[in-house]
Subunit: 191 residues, 2 copies
DNA sequence: CATTTACTATAACACTCGTTATACTAATCA
DNA sequence: TGATTAGTATAACGAGTGTTATAGTAAATG
């Protein structure tokens, strides 16, 4: 009948919004500043996304995608493997803003589980399933928790040496325990 | 000259505000709802605390006190010791709201380090110094990170069995490593 | 061309925010 | 008693919020 929709525009806005949120956080994001940063106006965002809440949902879905992509990059690391590779990728300064956002959303989600159920329910299991697929649930839980906790420490104290050493010690703990329990252990971290 | 100040009233309001924040979170705390919950009005809070920002600072100082108290309670645990005791106390359901607030503030502090510098700068080192005083920095870093990460998992998934098992496995890892390196290890977790 | 629809621009609405001003009562001291 | 200060109410201000209404332009179909 008439002019066809242009889904490109919507995706363009969404991608730019994700970049903005990664850079500025999501806790006190508001439509008007976001819109001007994107070269448009608040009603345009509402026209495309319906409501702020829906926009936030779609932004966080994209953030989840980026976190999953990070896990896949760790898997394809050619110098390290397993948990060491995950740590190398996740703790890299380039990922600082993204991981900061990760913990920011986590903090908000703890108070409003319903509002962030997509993010909350899936993000942890994304990691359990993909980079940690080869080990049992308990080991994966421990490994992910350690990475998470060290990362939180790193982002707040920025004490790279102390925390890299702690990660190294954790990898040694895992390896020495594997030496005790299995006669012919693999040389790298458990997979 | 005239009517003397009544510091009791101020502390009374502050204590009630801490309870309110522990229950409702601090990210979207605002003066008016807080005031009515405390049976007063927003201008009264500003009269006593100067500004919302100052009130938040004082509330978080109190929250930090409660977290420190939790560490001391873990130290006096008569059934467990060391890291196992810390985990038992910190992961207890009674502390859920407090620990949720802990991660909420952490998430906010990652974006606004200056605003939450008191909380951010001291809370981690409180733990390094008190419950973890007996081990070296690297071991303490690893232990606190693991507790932190597991706690975050517990608060979001509530999967108590899986996470308690992961903690148990971590304690076993530490013990077996101690067995390898020291000839006469202590029976409990490393202190 | 006329119509329909997609997108954009401007203005405004109702609401909440932190904060301030003002008036009022209560308690202490000269 | 009068003066001074502490604490408590009430109202209001300016700013910012998400959202809606309205009008205008752009692009496609009949």
């Amino acid at each position: 009948m008439a002019r066809p929709p242009e889904p490109e525009r919507r995706l363009e806005l969404l991608d730019a919004a994700v970049d903005y949120v990664v850079a500025h956080g999501i806790a006190d994001m508001s439509l008007r500043p976001l819109a001007v940063a994107l070269g448009t106006q608040a009603p345009v965002l509402l026209h495309h996304f319906g409501s702020k809440e829906q926009l936030v949902v779609e932004i966080l879905d994209r953030v989840r995608d980026r976190l999953r992509a990070l896990g896949r990059e760790a898997e394809s690391d050619q110098y390290r493997s397993g948990l060491g590779a995950v740590w190398a990728w996740v703790s890299h300064p380039d990922q600082g803003q993204l991981m900061r956002l990760f913990f920011e959303v986590y903090g908000l989600a703890l108070r409003h589980p319903n509002r962030y159920s997509n993010f909350l329910g899936h993000t942890v299991h994304d990691w359990l399933d993909e980079p940690m697929a080869a080990v049992d649930d308990i080991s994966a839980t421990l490994a992910i928790a350690t990475v998470t906790g060290l990362l939180l420490d790193l982002l707040t104290t920025n004490d790279r040496a102390r925390i890299d050493n702690a990660m190294e010690r954790f990898l040694i703990l895992l390896r020495s325990h594997a030496d005790q329990t299995t006669p012919a252990p693999e040389p790298s971290t458990p997979r």
